[in-house]
Symmetry: C2
Subunit: 338 residues, 2 copies
């Protein structure tokens, strides 16, 4: 069973430096400072095989433009992620382009002609793939045990405008329904002390997340047409489009592109499109550094999330008392060379 990885948000765990006798006020760390002093073992390496490296044509000044994407782990969106691995292996995106840049919304890339042949063997992923059913334990008090999973306990301090619980699972921003599974009469009889708790999880459209373009339902997209979020979180897309990853380096090469002047921000002229030289998985590309993310189960992440919601560093007068999930981006960095 795939358990949700969660963050410990107990106030007691939040790391504040001790007061020295001659300092009147506590000196709080900023979120960035908390991340910078996180322990080495709180960082989780990202496998190169879970990275996708997109090299755009150099910019007008000849500067290299590389975008690095981390793909989502199981159990999320694996039908599309599998397709994307096949598309990269087939070098499908080589010679395609960035075709759409809509301000405060998305940058989209793929085959602008929509005529390029897709590789064989791509899955047709059903709409049920947008969500993940997650059995949250079936032992005594499992429902409560699930409720008090620290990630959700922490984030429950912050109500969500989109009618979900929000938290982090395996380093990713995730929304969760409050829905419980109905037990069958047999289960009810044989396991009177157990509670079923089948909840629905889905990835969340935050800045930098990568999703799969599609046509009208029931089409769900193959993964050949991808986009990333470059504005305020468009969470109305959650559960309506598959999310497959996030940009972890080089998003500025997409977010700072000229906005398209056509409908939905599509480029109107062919010469406006930004050529994609190649897209390779991280273990098939050259010069790919090692990356790591701050474990969303770690004490430092809990302290970081708390500090994002309650800024106490010197610039701030009034801590908000909460933050929406997309205002708590998971720290990702190049792995320190030792």
């Amino acid at each position: 069973m795939q358990m949700i990885k969660t963050l410990l948000a107990c106030a007691a765990l939040i790391a504040h430096p001790p007061l020295s006798a001659d300092v009147a006020a506590p000196q709080y760390l900023s979120p960035g400072e908390i991340v910078s002093v996180a322990k080495t073992e709180e960082w989780v390496p990202i496998a190169p095989s879970d990275l996708m490296v997109m090299d755009l044509a150099p910019d007008p000044n000849g500067k290299v433009r590389r975008v690095v994407i981390q793909l989502m782990p199981a159990p999320f969106s694996q039908g599309w992620v599998g397709n994307i691995r096949k598309l990269a292996a087939a070098k499908f995106w080589d010679g395609t382009s960035v075709n759409r840049v809509q301000d405060n919304y998305v940058v989209q890339w793929g085959d602008a002609t929509e005529k390029k042949a897709l590789p064989d063997g791509l899955a047709v992923v059903p709409e049920s793939g947008y969500i993940t059913a997650q059995e949250c334990g079936d032992v005594v008090l499992s429902y409560n045990a699930c409720l008090v999973q620290p990630a959700f306990r922490h984030m429950a301090q912050s109500a969500d405008a989109y009618k979900a619980d929000t938290g982090f699972a395996q380093g990713w921003p995730v929304s969760r329904s409050g829905k419980r599974r109905e037990l069958s009469p047999a289960e009810r009889k044989s396991r009177w002390w157990r509670q079923g708790d089948l909840r629905m999880l889905w990835p969340t459209h935050c800045y930098g997340m990568v999703g799969v373009g599609r046509n009208l339902a029931p089409d769900t997209g193959t993964g050949a047409e991808l986009y990333t979020v470059i504005g305020h979180a468009p969470r109305h897309l959650d559960r309506n489009i598959a999310l497959v990853g996030r940009v972890i380096e080089g998003i500025e090469h997409l977010s700072s592109l000229p906005r398209g002047t056509g409908a939905l921000g599509f480029y109107e002229k062919e010469e406006e499109r930004v050529p994609i030289l190649s897209v390779r998985m991280g273990d098939a590309a050259t010069d790919v550094p090692a990356f790591e993310y701050l474990s969303t189960d770690s004490a430092s992440f809990a302290a970081y999330a708390d500090a994002r919601a309650n800024r106490r560093d010197p610039f701030f007068n009034v801590p908000a008392g909460g933050a929406d999930i997309c205002n708590i981006p998971v720290p990702v960095r190049r792995k320190a060379v030792k």
Copy 2:
């Protein structure tokens, strides 16, 4: 007394086209379609004197870059807004530059040298100016009357992660505390049937909002250093920095600028800065079109906000059931020429 202007969000008011006999499923309008069919009288003209027009140097292809900002109305942030009017009248920003572009955060402009003389007569605005106290009626049942103001009733369907009620006031995204004023013993005695309800209002850091850079508190900034939001709403800045307006046209000239590579996204080299040719109030600039916004009190806005929170147009399968305030941008457009 400045009453909050609010939106009517009663479901009964939401405009859906009637079903025709031969159509099985209702045909819902998208948010954009709802706005496009709003009545002429639902649009509110924006006075040219409330616009600020910033002309940047042309882009590398010689293309004109004009950014139009609408300043906030009373009772919000008027100390800084007054300063900004003086700074524009004194042509303070002419010859200054855009100095900072931080991805998923802000673009900031002003005098990079910090040595240019400010015009005389700028106010030193106290921190209390970040919020606005708002008496919400003092007649019988006033507290309830205030609570059921439709804007907040609507938005209350969407919980807010930042521990505020959120809604719209005079066309602007606003947060509101639930705090009530304590009545004095004399008031309690003389007006037993009345309830004081002093609530705090403050503008909300959504995409495109314009704010006032400052140093550490108690400094609140003069208004000479401005920024706009180009990423996910940084609402931890609410009540910590003054918001004075929003970009209503041309934000792409700021949001698509190259990201700065220095700390906080500041440009490291002088030649990276984007020159500001001039900043003028709308009634002192040339070729400024008329603008209007969709009244946030209008039935069409209520329908639009509902549709943003519950997408039912054909692309969508699952309506979210809510939206955060920054995912309901107030529609602003050039006034149709008749």
